[in-house]
Structures are given as structure tokens and as C-alpha cells.
């Protein structure tokens, strides 16, 4: 064999590559490439017919040029010609060129299809393999249509060679991903499942990928794969290290296949008891092997073993049902946390993060807190430290919050810039969520501003102000603390904002101390004034006018400042206007009027932390992690965090130019002119006559709908083409929903038209406004649509979201129920036991009560039930019901026309696995609807 090029080395190609290597500069390389391209072009265009060898050589050169990053716009025809060659080498290059360079909308597809057809019929396994690889790689619609019928047959035919079966399995997988409509389930499905039993492990490897994808979309049809996968896995993990011959990798039997089988099992809930026992044995064996001495010192051995181990742990976490296995998994990961391999530490931290959210292992995870904190301090790799932060966040609860927050603050001083903002958000959330003592909360946030002021987003400092205003026990402390913090010669502008706002409201609480007398407070703030940006100065001016009310004794000092040229003639319109107006207000208004206008801010409505929303946004709507959802539900936040967020969160809480002082911030729904698409019933009428009628509800739509009754964010719908995600927030009778449409394919969606439809019955009760979205959605892109919601009166039905678009020439039409339900307009009401039962009795008219007795559909867990009731929107009243096992809740449904008080009581019966749910409201229809909605949740 020649030294460099193997086989039938193509000299011309070798020379060309050597030339490129010898090029001294990028320019020289480009010049050489252009010369070669011109040469090849002329050869292809020339009169002389090229032989197969030459064509192959030139096509190879083109491939190489493409690899170097140059687009290739010719040579496709020559490559197609090579396909019909009988020489394997030529045919192979042709296929390679096509699968690398031809995209799915090429005009050549028909010619390529022809060649593929011949090769599939050839019964030559190598040719068949090449053809199948090509379909799998290119897979245009036209190609899919031509071969979708044939591939399943090849796959399950008795006489197909193993290697062809492997290619056919992956080929079918690709067909299914791109054109699921062309691959209907049929007789072949059960035979595909049995490929898990195939004696050839290569076939099993390929088939497992196929089955995993199919099972995700059609779990029922592929249910039998669970027991087959378990028995296959069992045979692998118990085999001696040499049994599987070449499929054993460094003494680990079939590691990649084991990983895939464990993945497949993660598509399903824990299996039936019979199979479950065997699976548990497998998982235990895998965990045991991790403790055995290694069979080889090679790192490949332990890596392969650990790949299987991590996947087994993922499955254990997915099932989340065997406390014993969960704790063992946690201990194993705990060992890895101290391992010398960075990769293992990284993966262990990542995996433990999900373990922390399981009821069974949360405590076990917490025992590793010191190791994780140590990792934060000593780990040299930022991505590992990032994982450590995530894990600390996940394992945080009331018992360790102070320690974790302190460590995170410590770390923040030296943290990488790339992750500071996220840490700030996490600290702010934890400090709020687990604050028992609000002085601690205030200290923590001020520390955040001190250490990482630039990374403290508006949401964070708005939030601290909301909390201080809502809790009168902390106001004096907050005023004192900000006053002290402002003494620092250089303090962050965010601190000036918080300080200005808080002193403006509560400066009087510390004014008795001569060290913080009104004048000292004012001078301190004013000494920062000139260093600040315009919005902060505007805020400080508002503080000054508030001081005029709080401290009449310094009124003239303040008026002098307002009167100065630098204020009254300020170039900034906002500042100038404030100075003029405030000066005027302070001059002409009587003390009484001043006191009324400049009264202390009323408490903010309780709402979901805007910071949590921000953290979720940072991670992207598609990846709102369940973990955070679970954590959120589990903890009973001091502010009732499970309550829906305010629509106008920022408008109300922003002490920014337009919305301060008078609390005029409660902005109405924004777009007043309804776009045409919101006239729901009209559209229904139009559609019912046209070809593009609204599609029936997509399968599974009801299940998804039910999941959103107690939560506001998540994935509403997903198929091969499209993912629909939701984020929504509600306050009183208003709401706003963000719908995210993600194009999962690489092809554009055209004429993309989502429409929200209210039925005739629903329309008078629910006012929805949407803006049209861009009719083209690029491959891989996501578009967002906002729905503004107003609840006019109570309602039963849900609106329908209909989506129509064209994808690769086919018309797509689907409908899902949009989870806007009556309970979203709940405001929780806290009340004592006495009040509760008094009102309960008042609502004793039989029409006011609706009761439902039903069987539990989910495990009866008190903590989950509580979280669901809070997520439903009502307050959860503890120690109200004489029977501690019962749950009671209270709240008010806000509609535009009326408010409806609601009481609810849920009585679980553990023995019978039943619940009795009773709803009492002043309106029968409301009781009825709430009862229906809530019954589905348990």
C-alpha cells in the first residue's frame, strides 16, 4: 500500500492536498482552490467523456474543498452519475458526495431516487447499505414518499442481512422524524419490537434507537418493548466480560447498547411488578459493579462502566419510586463528587441536581453539602463550579438556606462574570423563599448589591422594595441598614435607588436618632445625586418631595435644591418636569393635601416573585425546568409564590419616571384596538365554509390541558414539527399569556397562522386579544405571541388555539385547548378557622355546594396535594379543619363584573384511595366548574 493514501490512491488528489498543505497563507490557499475549481469545471464541461475513475477523483477533490469551508455549486450531476457505476468505490464516493452536499430540496432527487431504487433491488448488501445511508442522510419529502413503504419491509424481512437491517432501522427512524405521516404504524411494529431479541447486537443497537423514538410518540403500540428491553439488559449486565466478544469494550459488555436500553426504559413509567423485580436486579447489579475493583486499569474501562452507571441512575431518578435505589444512587454520586476525574465530578453534580428534587433522596443529597461547597471554592473549571451552584440551589431548603446563601455570596465575590447574574438571581430567590427573619433578607439583598451591583437586575431591587413595603416589621431595620450602607464613599447606583426609595417611604422611622436626622439623610442622598444616571436622579427627586411631607423642617432646603438652575433648567425633560411640579406642589399644597398625595405606598398585591420569572426567562421558555417548578411547589413561600404573577408586575412596582408616588401604575390592558383575529366567533363562521376548517382537537390535548390547571408555564403541545410552550401570568381579572411556537424542523413553516377562538358561549365572558405573528417561521426558530386576557364574568369552556401552516408542501392544521381556566382569576384569602366555618355555614344553600367523590389517580401525597391547591390559586388554610388530614382553601374569583368568594374542602381517604371534594361558592356555576377542574388533579 502507498505511504499515505490507502487502496487505489488517486495521485491527482494526493498532489492537490499536498499543495494545499504547503500553502503559506490563506490567500495562497484560496488561489490554489480557485485554480482547482476552474480545472474541475472545465473537465466536467469538456467534450471528452470522463471515465469513472476521473469523475471519482474530481468529486473527491470537491469534497475536500467543501470541508475547507468553500461552497460547492457544481459537480452534483457527476456525483449522481457515479451512483449508477457498478464499481463499489465509485458508487461510494457518489453517495458520499450526495449525502454531504445535497440538501433536501435539490432538483436532482428524482435521479438519485432512481439510483437508490436500483441499489435496493440489487440484493447486494453493500449496495443496499449505501442506498439506505443515503436516504437516511438526505431524506427529502420526495425521497420519503418514494421509499417509506419499502423500508419497513426490508427491516423485518427474514432474509435481510444484519448490516442491512441496521441501516434500514436508522433509515426508518429518519423517515419517521421528517415525515411521520408516511410511516403509519402497522403489522411491522410488533416485529420491530422483537428486534430487541435479535441475536446480533449491532441490530439490537440500531433497533433500540428506532424503538425509543417510536415509543415516545406511540407509547401504547410499543409497550411490549419494556419487558424485552429489561430481559436484554439483564442478559448483558450478567454476562461474563468475554461473552459478547467484540461488543465488549475494555471488559465492559456492550456499554453503548446498555445505555440505549436504559434510555428506552425512560420513555415509560416503572413496569409491572414481574418485570420490575428483574429490572431492579439489573440496576442493583450495575450499582454493585461500581463498587467492585476495576477489571482493568485503563481509563476506558471505568469510563464505559460509568456511562452505563450514570444512565442507570437517570432511570432510577426517572422512576422516582424505589427509595432504596435512590439513596444508593445518591451515595454513589457522593463518591464521585470527590473523584480525581473532573468529568466524573461534573456529571455527578449534574445528576445529583435532579436527585435533589425527589422526595426520597432530597435528604440524602443534603448530606453532601460540605463537599459541594468545597467544590465551589476549589474547582478549577468554571462549568463544574456552575454545576455546583445549580446543585446548591436545588438542595436548598429551610434548614440550610442561611448557609447556602452565605456560601453563594462568598463565591459571588470571585465568580466568573459569565455566571454572576444567574447567581444573583438564585441568591435573591433563595433569600426570599426561605426568609424567616426579614432582616436577614434585607441584609442579603444589600450584600448582593454591594458585591455584584452591576449584575443585580431591576427585578431584584424592585422585589426588595415590594417586600419591605408589604412587611411593616422590617421597615425600620431596612431604613437603618440602607442609611448605613449609603455611608460608603463609593456605593453602587442600585443601592442609591433602593436607599432613595426606602428612605423616602420610611426615613421617618430613623429620624429620631440625631445621627440620622432628616437633614443628614437628605444630604447623604443628595451627595450621590450628581453621580447618578437620569432615572436614578428622577427617583431621588421623588424621594425629596416625599421628604417634604415626612420632614416639614427641611422643606426650605429641599425647595432650594429643586429651585436651582441645574434642576429647573435641566436638559432632561423628565427631570425638569419633576423639579417644576414638585416645587410647585410643595409651595401651594396645604399640609393635608401633601400628606394625602405623598402618603406611604400601599402594600403591593401578593404575587409570584418577578425574580423567579426572570430566572426562568434567562433559561428560555422551552427549558423552564421542572426542577424549579417542583421546588417552587414544594416550598411554601412567604409571599405565596404559587400565586399567579401580576400582569403589570413591572408597571406597578417600578418607581421609574412615570409610575411613582401616586401609585398610578396599574396600567390597563395594553393594546386597545383589537386585531382582527380576536373576533373569535366570526372566524369560526368563516372557517366552517372554507376548505381550511378548524382541525379537531389534537390527541392528548385534554391531558395537557389538565396539567396547566395548577401551573402556568410549560409545554402545551409537541409533535415532530412543532412545539408550543406557554408562560402566563394572572392578576385579579386580568392575565397575559405568552405562547411560544418552536419550529422543530430545519424547514420553514409558511402561512403560519395561529388563531385563538372563543365559542359563542364563551365570548361574552372572556375577552382575548392577540397580535398576528409573522407568517414564516424559519427552521429551528421560535416565535412568540402574546394573548391579553380579561375575565368579564365566570365561564365554563376553554378557548381553542388553532394553528395552520404549510410545511414542505403539506398543509398542517391542528387545534389544542388553551388552558385559560376560571381558577386562574383566583386571589387567595387567608382566614381563621372560625371565619372559615362561619362562611362555610353561610353558603349552605344546596345550590351553592357542589361535591364530587372520586378515586385517586395519582399517589396520595399530602405535600403534593398542598402544592396543587396553592397552584390552583386558593389559599391553603392550615390548622383550620379539625381533621389534620383534610385540606381546606379559600379565595376570591375576580371577574370584571363581580367577585365570587370560594371555599373548598378536600377530604382524602387513604384506605379507599378516594377523595371527597366539596366546593361552596355564592354561584352554582362557579362551584360546578371549580369542582370539575380540581377533581382532575388528584
Amino acid at each position: 500500500m502507498p505511504a499515505v493514501s490507502k487502496g487505489d490512491g488517486m495521485r491527482g488528489l494526493a498532489v492537490f492536498i499536498s499543495d494545499i498543505r504547503n500553502c503559506k497563507s490563506k490567500e495562497a490557499e484560496i488561489k490554489r482552490i480557485n485554480k482547482e475549481l476552474a480545472n474541475i469545471r472545465s473537465k466536467f464541461k469538456g467534450d471528452k467523456a470522463l471515465d469513472g475513475y476521473s469523475k471519482k477523483k474530481y468529486v473527491c477533490k470537491l469534497l475536500f474543498i467543501f470541508l475547507l469551508g468553500h461552497d460547492i455549486d457544481f459537480g452534483h450531476m457527476e456525483a449522481v452519475n457515479l451512483l449508477s457505476s457498478n464499481r463499489y468505490t465509485e458508487k461510494q464516493i457518489g453517495y458520499l458526495f450526495i449525502s454531504v452536499l445535497v440538501n433536501s430540496n435539490s432538483e436532482l432527487i428524482r435521479l438519485i431516487n432512481n439510483a437508490i431504487k436500483n441499489d435496493l433491488a440489487s440484493r447486494n448488501p453493500t449496495f443496499m447499505g449505501l442506498a439506505l445511508h443515503c436516504i437516511a442522510n438526505v431524506c427529502s419529502r420526495e425521497m420519503a414518499e418514494a421509499f417509506a413503504g419499502e423500508i419497513p419491509k426490508i427491516l423485518v424481512a427474514g432474509d435481510t442481512m444484519d448490516s442491512v437491517k441496521q441501516s434500514a432501522a436508522l433509515c426508518l427512524l429518519r423517515l419517521y422524524r421528517t415525515s411521520p405521516d408516511l410511516v403509519p404504524m402497522g403489522d411491522w411494529t410488533s416485529r420491530v419490537v422483537h428486534l430487541l431479541n435479535d441475536q446480533h447486537l449491532g441490530v439490537v443497537t440500531a433497533a433500540t434507537s428506532l424503538i425509543t423514538t417510536l415509543a415516545q410518540k406511540n407509547p401504547e403500540e410499543f409497550k411490549t418493548s419494556v419487558s424485552l428491553a429489561v430481559s436484554r439488559l439483564s442478559r448483558i449486565v450478567t454476562s461474563a466480560s468475554t461473552d459478547l466478544q467484540d461488543y465488549t469494550y475494555y471488559f465492559v459488555p456492550a456499554p453503548w447498547l446498555s445505555v440505549k436500553l436504559l434510555r428506552l426504559l425512560q420513555c415509560y413509567p416503572p413496569p409491572d411488578p414481574a418485570v420490575r423485580g428483574r429490572l431492579t436486579e439489573c440496576l442493583e447489579t450495575i450499582l454493585n459493579k461500581a463498587q467492585e475493583p476495576p477489571k482493568s486499569k485503563k481509563v476506558q474501562h471505568s469510563n464505559a462502566k460509568n456511562a452505563v452507571l450514570f444512565e442507570a441512575i437517570s432511570l432510577i431518578i426517572h422512576h422516582d419510586s424505589e427509595p432504596n435505589l435512590l439513596v444508593r444512587a445518591c451515595n454513589q454520586l457522593g463518591q464521585f463528587l470527590q473523584h480525581r476525574e473532573t468529568n466524573l465530578r461534573y456529571l455527578a453534580l449534574e445528576s445529583m441536581c435532579t436527585l435533589a428534587s425527589s422526595e426520597f433522596s432530597h435528604e440524602a443529597v443534603k448530606t453532601h453539602i460540605e463537599t459541594v461547597i468545597n467544590a465551589l471554592k476549589t474547582e478549577r473549571d468554571v462549568s463544574v463550579r456552575q454545576r455546583a451552584v445549580d446543585l446548591l440551589y436545588a438542595m436548598c431548603d429551610r434548614s440550610n438556606a442561611q448557609q447556602i446563601v452565605a456560601e453563594m455570596l462568598n463565591y459571588l465575590e470571585t465568580a466568573d462574570y459569565s455566571i454572576r447574574e444567574e447567581i444573583v438571581l438564585k441568591v435573591a430567590i433563595l433569600a426570599e423563599k426561605y426568609a424567616v427573619d426579614y432582616t436577614w433578607y434585607v441584609d442579603t439583598i444589600l450584600n448582593l448589591i454591594r458585591i455584584a451591583g452591576d449584575y443585580v437586575s431591576e427585578e431584584v431591587w424592585y422585589r426588595v422594595i415590594q417586600i419591605v413595603i408589604n412587611r411593616d416589621d422590617v421597615q425600620g431595620y431596612a431604613a437603618k441598614t440602607v442609611f448605613e450602607a449609603l455611608q460608603a464613599p463609593a456605593c453602587h447606583e442600585n443601592l442609591v435607588k433602593v436607599g432613595g426609595y426606602i428612605l423616602g417611604e420610611f426615613g421617618n422611622l430613623i429620624a429620631g436618632d440625631p445621627r440620622s436626622s432628616p437633614l443628614i439623610q437628605f444630604n447623604l442622598l443628595h451627595s450621590k445625586f450628581h453621580l447618578c444616571s437620569v432615572p436614578t436622579r428622577a427617583l431621588l427627586l421623588s424621594t425629596y418631595i416625599k421628604f417634604v411631607n415626612l420632614f416639614p423642617e427641611i422643606k426650605t432646603t429641599i425647595q432650594d435644591v429643586l429651585r436651582s438652575d441645574s434642576q429647573l433648567k435641566n436638559a432632561d425633560v423628565e427631570l425638569q418636569q419633576r423639579a417644576v411640579e414638585y416645587l410647585r406642589l410643595s409651595t401651594i399644597a396645604s399640609t393635608d393635601i401633601l400628606a394625602t398625595v405623598l402618603e406611604e405606598m400601599p402594600p403591593f398585591p401578593e404575587r409570584e416573585s418577578s425574580i423567579l420569572a426572570k430566572l426562568k426567562k434567562k433559561k428560555g421558555p422551552g427549558t423552564v425546568t421542572d426542577l424549579e417548578e417542583i421546588k417552587k411547589e414544594r416550598s411554601s413561600d412567604m409571599n405565596g409564590s404559587a400565586e399567579p404573577a401580576s400582569v403589570n408586575a413591572s408597571a406597578v412596582s417600578t418607581p421609574s419616571p412615570s409610575a411613582d408616588l401616586l401609585g398610578l401604575g396599574a396600567a390597563p390592558l395594553t393594546n386597545s384596538a383589537p386585531p382582527p383575529s380576536s373576533s373569535g366567533s366570526l372566524l369560526v363562521d368563516v372557517f366552517s365554509d372554507s376548505a381550511s376548517a378548524v382541525a379537531p382537537l389534537a390527541p392528548g390535548s385534554d391531558d395537557n390541558f389538565a396539567r396547566f390547571v395548577c401551573k402556568n408555564n410549560g409545554v402545551l403541545f409537541e409533535n415532530q414539527l412543532l412545539q408550543i410552550g406557554l408562560k402566563s401570568e394572572f392578576r385579579q381579572n386580568l392575565g397575559r399569556m405568552f405562547i411560544f411556537y418552536g419550529n422543530k424542523t430545519s424547514t420553514q413553516f409558511l402561512n403560519f397562522t395561529p388563531t385563538v377562538i372563543c365559542s359563542d358561549d364563551l365570548q361574552p365572558s372572556l375577552n382575548l386579544q392577540t397580535k398576528p405573528v409573522d407568517p414564516t417561521v424559519d427552521g429551528g426558530a421560535q416565535v412568540q405571541q402574546v394573548v391579553n386576557i380579561e375575565c368579564v364574568s365566570d365561564f365554563m369552556e376553554a378557548p381553542i388555539l388553532n394553528i395552520q401552516f404549510r410545511y414542505g408542501g403539506t398543509f398542517q392544521n391542528l387545534s389544542v385547548k388553551l388552558p385559560i381556566t376560571l381558577n386562574k382569576f383566583f386571589q387567595p384569602t387567608e382566614m381563621s378557622s372560625q371565619d372559615f366555618f362561619q362562611r362555610w355555614k353561610q353558603l349552605s344553600n344546596p345550590k351553592q355546594e357542589v361535591q364530587n367523590i372520586f378515586k385517586a389517580k395519582h399517589p396520595m401525597d399530602a405535600e403534593i396535594t398542598k402544592a396543587k391547591i396553592i397552584g390552583f390559586g386558593s389559599a391553603l388554610l392550615e390548622e383550620v379543619d379539625p381533621n389534620p388530614a383534610n385540606f381546606v382553601g379559600a379565595g376570591i374569583i375576580h371577574t370584571k363584573t363581580t367577585q365570587i368568594g370560594c371555599l373548598l374542602r378536600l377530604e382524602p381517604n387513604l384506605q379507599a384511595q378516594m377523595y371527597r371534594l366539596t366546593l361552596r361558592t355564592s354561584k352554582e356555576a362557579v362551584s360546578q366548574r371549580l369542582c370539575e377542574l380540581l377533581s382532575e388533579q388528584f
Binding site: 499515505v4 473527491c60 463499489y88 441501516s167 464505559a304 456529571l347 473549571d381 462549568s383
Partner: protein
């Protein structure tokens, strides 16, 4: 799913690229440049997984050559990390002590090997002898 499979040398020259999702050529060159920049900036005691955009990079270094694989969250990082080694061992077996030059001058064969192991983003074969079988057929035809 595996999104792409790259071999890039320390100078940032791509020696092998295989994408399992269609990406425009100019985006490819940009991606390859960024990917190698990320890999080069890391030291030996950092882990072999990098979060990059909405996927993860798993990489291994062999002399001056980096093998970098882009994966999404459905893939097991450690399994992909060893897949890279398995791939390199197969190359080593076929070329007997593989070097960067072997890869450059035999691009078509390296592609065949990779295609036998990974097909549209899924691992399809891991047994070295079966991976090399089509190549041995090819070489036999060439010799005769």
C-alpha cells in the same frame, strides 16, 4: 442525538466534518472556528464537556487533533466520550498508527468508518471488525 462530528487540528483546520442536521456552509465554518477556540482555551484539568449554545460539546484531544462531538440532552456524555475513543481506535487499527495525514489523504475512508458507526445522529455499530468490514471489501476490490 448527535448533531455533528468534527476533527479539527490545533491550527483550527477542519480535517473531518459530518453534520447530522442541515447547516449552511458559512454557519459551519463559524461554528467550527468557535468550537475549536473553546477547546483550545481549556486546560487538562477541566472537564471534557462544554455547554455551548443549546447543546453540549464532548471533546477529546489526540496529539494535535481534537475530536469534537455536538450532542443534545438525550445523549449520555460519557458514552459519547468513549465513542470518540472507539472511533479513534478503529482508525488506528485500519491505518495502523493513524496520523493527521492519513485522515487528510483518505477522507473518503474515514467517512466510511464514521458512517458505519454513526448514522443520522445515532450510534449504529460499535464492533470494530464489523465497522471495518466494508472497507476490507473495498481494499480487496482495489487490489484485484
Amino acid at each position: 442525538m448527535i448533531k455533528f462530528f468534527l476533527m479539527v487540528n490545533k491550527q483550527g483546520q477542519t480535517r473531518l466534518s459530518r453534520y447530522y442536521e442541515h447547516i449552511e456552509i458559512h454557519k459551519r465554518t463559524m461554528l467550527e472556528a468557535e468550537v475549536i477556540k473553546h477547546c483550545l482555551s481549556r486546560s487538562k484539568d477541566q472537564c471534557s464537556f462544554i455547554e455551548y449554545k443549546d447543546f453540549k460539546l464532548v471533546y477529546r484531544q489526540y496529539a494535535a487533533l481534537f475530536v469534537v462531538v455536538g450532542i443534545n440532552e438525550t445523549e449520555n456524555e460519557m458514552a459519547v466520550y468513549e465513542l470518540i475513543h472507539n472511533f479513534v481506535e478503529v482508525l488506528d487499527k485500519y491505518f495502523s498508527r493513524v496520523s493527521e495525514l492519513d485522515i487528510m489523504f483518505n477522507l473518503d475512508r474515514v467517512h466510511i468508518i464514521l458512517d458505519e458507526m454513526v448514522l443520522n445522529g445515532c450510534i449504529v455499530e460499535t464492533n470494530p471488525n464489523r465497522i471495518l468490514a466494508p472497507l476490507f471489501v473495498l481494499d480487496k476490490v482495489a487490489e484485484s
